[in-house]
């Protein structure tokens, strides 16, 4: 056989997109029965490499060998026929079709064109059990599944055929903790059966748990491959960004000002129950909790994006409850929401950075009768691009062409220009690479330092512990606990997040509902 169980070998691989060198002289190898983590900042070349291996793009230079033979998949189907599968970050399921139909979409079992329902069902059942979803009815439409479950279905789709190489691109991004455990068990099983797994993730703790070896890409070059047991977290980060990042210096001590926002007894149909909290000027309040614990729902209700059933919102210490029926009301009273899904709910992707920055306060750069003063608008946009160090060719570049971190900064600029005092960030660093993450942290610190009241919702506990002054923990729709800086530990927060699940029954299935079902 081939040397040392080497399943897939990539050597001197190169790929350019126009003048951009996405991959440069990259070597990489995958052994049978190992989990090989691939890490790097966004744009470092991880996706390009995996897309080439999975047959989605062709390389410009270099060689690929699969089981000792030259390997050049013509397209994704060809790669899958040879046993190389990839589960993408964006799910490729068709929401209106059933789980079973999605699993066997490209070759539905049939007799003379009539779908063999019984066989389809039976084979789907087997696959679902393998990924731990045995309890699901294969005839359920995919649209009724949570994002995590959809991810597992997607993996199941790769399993029914011979699967020797499986590429997982950020598989845990949308999973809840129990689902992550399920996924890891599944990965262990596949590894035991001799499948080689390429595991792409930003979550370094996960990699330490699950991966055998680790390769780091930076700017299209491979900066090193080593055994995971040999390297520390700090070392990985240094390999990724090329410099040290000290998380302890992230939080700056400051004194909190007067109360900017006080929420009392907030209740929303089905997902938020009797939540009260307050946030002061010059303070960062974090919201932790499991997925579906109602964090996002709470803050969307405060912003008027979703209707609230009961509860009062008091602004700037006023005794009279504020009237917030729509985002328009909220913005007029100085509240801003930076949504989790920047592309779908925040940005106007094809429009210029300029138009994105001025959107919420366009009237400030316009005459009374509606004429936009172009020079003023461009000036404002340039100003903010500079202040927040947004990396773009010019303020006229379409927002779609910016990286995730810079897109996030564009949205921040929009709200700072609108002069909002209360800024709610929902998952501000999701999908943003490590280097840019720290820039966002610095920005949040700076905002608090300037006297803004900042609320941050995040699934990344380390992130919250690094930047927040206080952390509120939600559990099954209730506010379980609030910790001040210094009082918290990871264990305490996790215990609070699970509190309601231990004492009462979870609310409903809506806990697993995909975020899109909220509206």
């Amino acid at each position: 056989m081939h040397s040392a169980g080497c399943l897939l070998r990539v050597s001197t691989l190169g790929k350019s997109y126009g003048p951009v060198q996405a991959l440069n002289d990259v070597d990489f190898d995958l052994r049978a029965g190992e989990v090989h983590a691939l890490v790097g900042e966004n744009g470092a070349g991880k996706s390009t490499l995996s897309r080439i291996v999975a047959g989605l793009t062709a390389a410009d230079r270099g060689r690929l060998e699969f089981k000792g033979q030259p390997y050049a998949p013509a397209n994704r189907k060809d790669a899958e026929r040879q046993g190389v599968h990839m589960v993408m970050q964006e799910l490729n399921l068709i929401p209106t079709l059933s789980i079973a139909e999605n699993l066997f979409l490209d070759c539905l079992p049939n007799r003379w064109g009539w779908i063999d329902r019984a066989r389809l069902r039976a084979e789907s059942q087997v696959l679902l059990e393998r990924v731990g979803l045995g309890g699901l009815d294969p005839n359920l439409p995919v649209s009724q599944l949570g994002v995590g479950q959809q991810q597992l279905v997607e993996i199941a789709r790769s399993l029914w055929r011979r699967c020797e190489v499986l590429i997982l691109d950020e598989p845990t991004a949308a999973l809840t903790d129990p689902e992550v455990e399920l996924l890891f068990a599944l990965i262990q099983g596949l590894r035991g059966a001799g499948t080689g797994i390429v595991y792409i993730s930003h979550r370094l703790e996960e990699i330490q748990r699950i991966a055998d070896r680790l390769s780091v890409l930076r700017d299209g070059r491979m900066t090193g491959t080593r055994a995971v047991s040999d390297v520390s977290l700090e070392k990985i980060v240094r390999l990724m960004v090329g410099r040290d990042l000290d998380s302890e210096t992230l939080h700056e001590s400051r004194t909190a000002g007067p109360v900017a926002l006080a929420v009392r007894g907030l209740t929303c149909a089905g997902c938020v129950r009797d939540v009260s909290f307050e946030v002061r000027r010059g303070e960062i309040l974090g919201f932790a909790g499991l997925m579906g614990s109602g964090r996002t729902e709470t803050l969307r209700a405060v912003f008027g994006a979703d209707p609230l059933e009961r509860g009062e919102i008091h602004l700037h210490g006023s005794e009279r409850p504020a009237r917030i029926r729509s985002p328009r009301d909220a913005v007029r009273q100085g509240i801003a929401l930076l949504t989790e899904d920047r592309k779908a709910q925040g940005l106007l992707l094809p429009l210029a950075v300029r138009a994105n920055i001025t959107l919420a306060a366009l009237r400030a750069v316009a005459e009374k009768w509606g004429l936009v003063r172009r020079a003023d608008e461009a000036g404002v946009a340039r100003d903010w691009v500079q202040k927040l160090a947004i990396r773009c060719h010019s303020e006229e570049q379409p927002a779609a062409e910016l990286s995730g971190g810079n897109q996030q900064k564009v949205v921040v600029a929009r709200w700072l220009f609108r002069d909002c005092d209360i800024l709610i960030f929902d998952e501000p660093t999701r999908g943003i690479d490590v280097g840019a993450k720290f820039e966002i942290y610095r920005l949040l610190n700076e905002l608090a330092g300037r006297g803004k009241a900042v609320i941050v919702v995040s699934s990344d506990l380390m992130e919250l512990m690094a930047i927040c002054d206080r952390i509120a923990v939600m559990s099954a729709g209730r506010l379980a606990a609030t910790f001040a800086r210094g009082e918290w530990t990871q264990d305490k927060i996790m215990a609070a997040a699970l509190r309601e699940h231990l004492t009462t029954k979870p609310l409903s299935r809506s806990d697993d509902a995909p975020p899109a079902a909220r509206n």
């Binding site: 149909a269 089905g270 979703d306 809506s510 079902a517 909220r518 509206n519």
Partner: protein
């Protein structure tokens, strides 16, 4: 948040109310004059577009006739929305056969496509009378079907209008024809009638194009023809709506005095134009009587069971003089 809504939720009631209104409306019309009396023959009148003034007049004539002879027959009048919607008209015939009417009087939207379904109706024992737009003779002969036609001879009518125009022109003058849609038999017949007259008088037809029965389209075509043929002497339009479009094109070009326009149908809007001389002549097919002729013939066939034969109805030439004479 969830999409499940109970059937009595406030969101649904406007729909329920709307459906209720529609049902009520249907119930009311059903109780109207069309209710059946046993023994009286039921005659279905199936027309082309009720959006067209011509057919509306036809329908109104038929309704008036039915009112005057209410004890002799019942009338079910139907039309299609769009003059070219052949499929809808086929459906109408099928529905009428299913309703077991005694006779169908039909102005077909297409001179060939409706033959099949009319034969089916005939086979089912329904008397079928063809009015207004004659079924294609070749197809009828080929299929060995006899469907009696009661109506005007469009070609003859157009010939009369054309002959009248020719008297005002000199041989060799340039003229243009604005036709109906290419698949409309009566439009084709009118075009042929115009051609007959112009050829007989030695005129030169420089262009024949379709204006689709519409003012706007005829206007575009006419304007282009005038530009291309500055010495044009006359427009022959297959209906009056298109004649209106031609007149507008001439007015815009400042050539109302040099170019004569004739139309067909004698709709009310052209009366003034005829008197002013902006339209020279048109033809009146007595729209209000065409359906009546057809119905009377159908009644006669039902009574006497004689072999069907074609019947021609009169077409009158309308000019400024004939209007003044009235």
């Amino acid at each position: 948040m969830n999409t499940s809504t109970s059937s009595c939720s406030p969101r649904r009631w406007p729909l329920a109310a709307a459906l209720g209104l529609v049902a009520l409306g249907l119930a009311l019309t059903a109780c109207g004059p069309q209710s059946q009396t046993p023994g009286k023959p039921r005659i279905a009148l199936i027309m082309k577009s009720l959006a067209n003034e011509f057919f509306l007049t036809m329908e109104n004539g038929a309704r008036a006739h039915q009112k005057a002879h209410a004890d002799e027959y019942d009338l079910l009048a139907n039309g299609i929305k769009d003059e070219l919607d052949v499929a809808k008209q086929v459906e109408l015939v099928e529905q009428m056969v299913a309703q077991k009417v005694d006779a169908i009087v039909i102005a077909p939207a297409d001179s060939k496509a409706l033959i099949g379904v009319c034969k089916k109706a005939q086979d089912a024992g329904v008397v079928v009378v063809n009015i207004d737009n004659k079924f294609d003779d070749a197809v009828l002969a080929g299929q060995k079907i006899k469907l009696p036609f009661v109506g005007p001879d469009n070609r003859k009518g157009a010939r009369r209008v054309g002959d009248y125009l020719a008297k005002q022109l000199k041989p060799g003058d340039k003229v243009a024809v604005i036709e109906g849609p290419p698949n409309a038999f009566n439009g084709q017949q009118r075009g042929l009638g115009f051609d007959d007259a112009m050829n007989a008088a030695g005129m030169k037809i420089v262009s024949s194009q379709s204006g689709y029965w519409e003012t706007d389209k005829a206007n575009q075509v006419a304007a282009a023809i005038i530009t291309e043929n500055p010495d044009l002497k006359a427009f022959l339009c297959a209906n009056d709506s298109m004649a209106l479009g031609a007149v507008a094109a001439l007015r815009a070009a400042g050539k109302l005095d040099q170019v004569k326009v004739v139309g067909y149908d004698n709709i009310s809007a052209v009366q003034t134009l005829l008197k002013e001389g902006k339209i020279l002549a048109t033809a009146d097919q007595h729209a209000d009587q065409i359906a009546v002729f057809g119905i009377e013939y159908a009644l006669q066939l039902l009574k006497t069971k004689t072999a069907p034969a074609d019947r021609e109805t009169p077409v009158d030439l309308i000019t400024a003089e004939s209007l003044a004479g009235k």
